[in-house]
């Protein structure tokens, strides 16, 4: 690790199960050698489909180790809620970034990269590069 402060990852989905499962998948594919803090913020506080600003704020606070927090979202209200929270200024830890990336592939790339001790710029870049990976 080049940086003992590791970047935290927050995964925001409309569904609690999707967010939790993608977090598990990314942690699993990153290997166990480095503990990257990954938090899922899925669904509404009531357990329904949707986005919760409270769950996002709590997730971001829980993974903040001082090296920045990368937030990946699925769609619609998840994107808009994180953008609105960032615009507010004090809803999220400093150095929190909304990363424009595919949700599953981006999450894996972000966690794997964060596990190397890379900084927020490199983690975000790796997640965004996942858009370029053609499957067919």
């Amino acid at each position: 690790m080049t940086n003992e402060k590791v970047v935290g990852i927050v995964l925001v989905s409309h569904s609690a199960q999707v967010a939790a499962a993608v977090a598990d998948l990314a942690r699993g594919l990153a290997g166990g050698e480095a503990a990257v803090p990954v938090a899922a913020a899925g669904g509404t506080e009531g357990g329904g489909l949707g986005t919760s600003a409270e769950l996002i704020a709590a997730a971001a606070a829980s993974v903040d180790r001082g090296a920045g927090v990368a937030v990946l979202t699925d769609l619609g209200s998840a994107v808009l809620t994180v953008k609105a929270m960032l615009a507010e200024g004090d809803d999220l830890p400093g150095h929190t970034r909304l990363v424009d990336a595919p949700f599953v592939e981006g999450a894996v790339a972000a966690v794997v990269t964060a596990a190397t001790g890379a900084g927020l710029d490199a983690v975000a870049a790796a997640a965004m590069e996942a858009y370029d990976y053609r499957k067919v």
């Binding site: 509404t44 949707g50 600003a53 209200s77 615009a87």
Partner: protein, 199 residues
């Protein structure tokens, strides 16, 4: 001049009409959305009135800031950050004055609507809440009643449009022929303003 009590009446009147129209908003959101617009906004504005009762903010700007924060926290759908941003930016533009003029409010609301357009990337004609809000702000110089009428006309005028934003945009041409639920709820918000003014 408009004081904090006026802005509380605005939020309360909107909460009452959102509550009354929740089923209609959700019905409009069924063919082109995910059928939760009414219940989401109902939950959000219930939280707004509860928070306003509890904290009783002293200035117009503080009333709108608190209301906006509640909407972002509790709505759960895209209308939360959109309406939340509208109210917070409008409140921020009003500053900490104890009373504001109608001209101040018109200017601040335009700032708020611009912020919503920047957040969601929607322009007039995209079949969104913007199609009610922009004509309302344009008409505000002629009074609250004129703004309400303009917002209602704007909401109705979304019916023949094809959605280019949000979930409805996936439907393409099938979104044509349905009045936009977001424009409809935006018209309720503007109507609440007229109601607060006793019009």
């Amino acid at each position: 001049m408009l004081d904090a009590a006026f802005f509380r009446r605005w939020m309360t009147a909107t909460a009452v009409s959102v509550d009354r129209e929740a089923e209609r908003l959700t019905a409009l959101d069924s063919p082109i959305g995910d059928a939760d617009h009414g219940s989401n906004l109902q939950r959000g504005f219930a939280a707004v009135t509860a928070a306003l009762d509890k904290e009783a903010p002293a200035t117009p700007g503080a009333v709108l800031a608190l209301a906006g924060r509640q909407l972002i926290s509790t709505v759960g759908g895209a209308s939360g950050p959109l309406y939340g941003t509208l109210l917070r930016r409008t409140g921020k533009a009003l500053g900490d004055a104890a009373e504001v003029s109608e001209e101040d409010l018109a200017g601040a609301l335009r700032t708020g609507v611009d912020a919503v357009m920047a957040l969601g990337g929607a322009a007039p004609g995209d079949k969104t809440m913007i199609d009610a809000l922009v004509p309302a702000v344009d008409a505000l110089g002629e009074g609250f009643g004129a703004a309400r009428a303009a917002a209602e006309r704007g909401a109705v005028a979304t019916t023949p449009l094809q959605a280019r934003k949000g979930r409805a945009s996936y439907l393409g041409e099938r979104s044509v022929g349905h009045q936009d639920p977001g424009a409809t709820s935006a018209a309720l918000l503007v109507a609440g303003l007229a109601e607060a003014a006793g019009e």
